[in-house]
C-alpha cells in the first residue's frame, strides 16, 4: 500500500448551520510517531480528528493524503472517546474488522485471540462486550482498531475517566503500536499524557491551529502567550 503521508490540509473548515466549528485549518503532517492534539474544551479537538478521518463533513478547503482518499480511509482506524461496543462477545468484537474485510472466521478469531491476549483481555473472550468496565472497553476498542494493522490510528481522548493503572496499560499499548510503525493522532486534555506520548503537538484554540510543532520544542518554549498560559494550567478561551 502506498504511504499515507505527507498529509496536507489547506483551509479545511467545517460548519454547522452557518457556524464555523473548526477552521480554517492549515496543517502538514509527515514522518511518524504520535501527534497529540491539545486545547481547551470546545476548541474543536474531536471535530478536527473526525475531519481528518473523513467522518465529519468538510465545508470548504482540502485534505490531501499521499494516496487516494478511499485508500487512505482503509488504512486508518478510529477509537472514540466513549468506545462503541458491538453487542457481541469480546472475541467477536475484536475479530469484527477482519471479518468485514473477508478474512475467514477461524482465522479472524485466531488473530483476535492473539490481540485480546496482548491487551490483557485474554481471560474474558466470551464475555459480552457491553458489560465490560470502562478500561476494559477502551482496551477492547484498541485491540479492535489495531487488529487491522492501520497505518494511522486516531484516538479521541482515549483515557477519559480511567484510573491510573488502566491508563498506564493503554499508554503501553499505544507506545507498542507506535514502535510497530503505526502513526498516532490523538487528542487529550491530560498534559502529562501529552508529554509522555507526543512527538508533535497541535494546539487548538477556538477551532483553529494556534500553534504546532515538535513536542519537545512546544513544551519547552511555547511561542504564544495562550500556549504558555494553557500549559501553566490557566483558563484559556
Amino acid at each position: 500500500m502506498s504511504d499515507l503521508f505527507p498529509l496536507t490540509v489547506r483551509g479545511a473548515t467545517t460548519r454547522r448551520r452557518g457556524k464555523v466549528l473548526v477552521g480554517p485549518v492549515d496543517l502538514t503532517l509527515s514522518g511518524n510517531g504520535a501527534c497529540v492534539v491539545i486545547g481547551p474544551n470546545g476548541s474543536g479537538k474531536t471535530t478536527l480528528l473526525r475531519l481528518l478521518h473523513g467522518a465529519a463533513r468538510l465545508s470548504s478547503g482540502t485534505i490531501d493524503w499521499a494516496c487516494p482518499m478511499a485508500k487512505a480511509r482503509r488504512a486508518q482506524a478510529f477509537v472514540f472517546q466513549r468506545p462503541v461496543m458491538l453487542r457481541r462477545s469480546v472475541l467477536d468484537n475484536i475479530a469484527y474488522p477482519l471479518i468485514i474485510r473477508g478474512t475467514s472466521r477461524a482465522q479472524a478469531r485466531a488473530q483476535a485471540r492473539d490481540w485480546a491476549e496482548r491487551v490483557g483481555l485474554g481471560d474474558m473472550l466470551d464475555r459480552a462486550a457491553p458489560v465490560l468496565s470502562g478500561g476494559e472497553q477502551q482496551k477492547l476498542a484498541l485491540a479492535r482498531a489495531l487488529i487491522g494493522q492501520p497505518k494511522l490510528l486516531f484516538l479521541d481522548e482515549p483515557c477519559t475517566a480511567l484510573d491510573g493503572s488502566a491508563m498506564r496499560e493503554i499508554e503501553q499499548i499505544l507506545t507498542d503500536a507506535k514502535a510497530a510503525g503505526t502513526r498516532l493522532i490523538l487528542s487529550t486534555h491530560d498534559m502529562g499524557q501529552a508529554r509522555r506520548l507526543a512527538d508533535q503537538v497541535v494546539f487548538l484554540l477556538r477551532g483553529q491551529v494556534h500553534e504546532s510543532g515538535p513536542a519537545a520544542e512546544f513544551f519547552e518554549t511555547p511561542r504564544t502567550e495562550q500556549a504558555r498560559a494553557f500549559l501553566k494550567g490557566d483558563i484559556v478561551e
Binding site: H53, R74, Q76, V84, L86, D92
Partner: protein
C-alpha cells in the same frame, strides 16, 4: 359461566385424547402462521434495517406508512387478497383462492408492517450506537444491515413473536380468503367462529383455550431455543 367451565373441561378432554380433528386443525394453524411468519420476517427485517441505515427520499414516508399499516384492518386485507386471487381477478390463473397459500399471503400482508415497525425501532436505536464505528470501518451497506440484524436479533425475535401473535389469532382475513373449508383451510380461529355461529359456545371456548395454549407454547419454545444460543457467548 357454565359455558366457560364446560369449555375448559372440553379443551382438556380434546387435548388429552389427542382428538384427531383438533390435531389436524391446530397443526394447520401452526403451519399457515409459521410459514407466514418466515416469509414476513424475511421481507420485514431487511426492510427495517434498510430504513434504519439508509437515508433516501421516501424513507420518512415509508416509515409513516408502515406505522399506519400496523393497524391495518384484517378484513380489508382479506377482501383485497380475495379480489386479487379470485378467478375473475388479476392473479386468478394461479388458482390460489381458498387454499392455505392464500391464507399465508393474507397473513404476510397483515404482519409485515407490524414486524417491520417494531424491528425498525430497535434497529434504529442500535444504529445510533454503531453509526460512528461502522462508518469509520468503511463497512458496506450490506455489511451494516447484516451486522445490525445479527446484533439486535433478540429484539427481532420479539418483533417476530408479536407478528406470530397477531397472525395466529387472526380470523377476519383468513376466513375470507381461506373459506374455512373442512380438512383444507379450517384453522383454529375460523373453527371458533364456526362453532360460535352454531351456538356451541363450549366447543368454541375449548378451541379458544387450545389456541391460547398453542400461542403460549410456541412463545416458550422459541424463547427456550434462543436462550441456549445466548448463554454460549453474548
Amino acid at each position: 359461566m357454565t359455558d366457560l367451565w364446560d369449555g375448559l373441561a372440553q379443551a382438556l378432554w380434546l387435548v388429552a385424547t389427542f382428538d384427531p380433528e383438533l390435531v389436524e386443525i391446530a397443526a394447520r394453524s401452526l403451519r399457515v402462521t409459521l410459514s407466514a411468519l418466515v416469509v414476513a420476517s424475511a421481507i420485514a427485517m431487511p426492510l427495517a434495517a434498510l430504513l434504519a441505515v439508509r437515508r433516501f427520499r421516501w424513507r420518512r414516508v415509508i416509515i409513516a406508512i408502515l406505522n399506519a399499516l400496523m393497524g391495518l384492518p384484517p378484513v380489508v386485507v382479506g377482501l383485497v387478497v380475495y379480489v386479487m386471487l379470485s378467478r375473475a381477478g388479476p392473479f386468478g390463473v394461479l388458482g390460489l383462492l381458498f387454499t392455505p397459500t392464500a391464507m399465508i399471503i393474507a397473513q404476510v400482508i397483515i404482519i409485515v408492517p407490524l414486524i417491520a415497525s417494531i424491528a425498525h425501532q430497535s434497529l434504529r436505536d442500535l444504529w445510533q450506537d454503531y453509526h460512528d464505528l461502522l462508518i469509520s470501518m468503511n463497512v458496506t451497506q450490506w455489511q451494516k444491515i447484516r451486522t445490525l440484524l445479527w446484533d439486535t436479533r433478540r429484539a427481532l425475535l420479539t418483533a417476530a413473536l408479536a407478528g406470530f401473535g397477531r397472525a395466529i389469532g387472526e380470523v377476519g382475513a383468513i376466513m375470507i380468503v381461506g373459506g374455512n373449508i373442512d380438512h383444507a383451510t379450517r384453522v383454529l380461529t375460523t373453527a371458533i367462529a364456526l362453532e360460535t355461529g352454531k351456538g356451541d359456545f363450549a366447543l368454541a371456548l375449548a378451541l379458544g383455550f387450545v389456541l391460547i395454549g398453542l400461542a403460549v407454547a410456541v412463545n416458550l419454545a422459541i424463547h427456550w431455543l434462543s436462550r441456549t444460543e445466548r448463554e454460549g457467548r453474548w
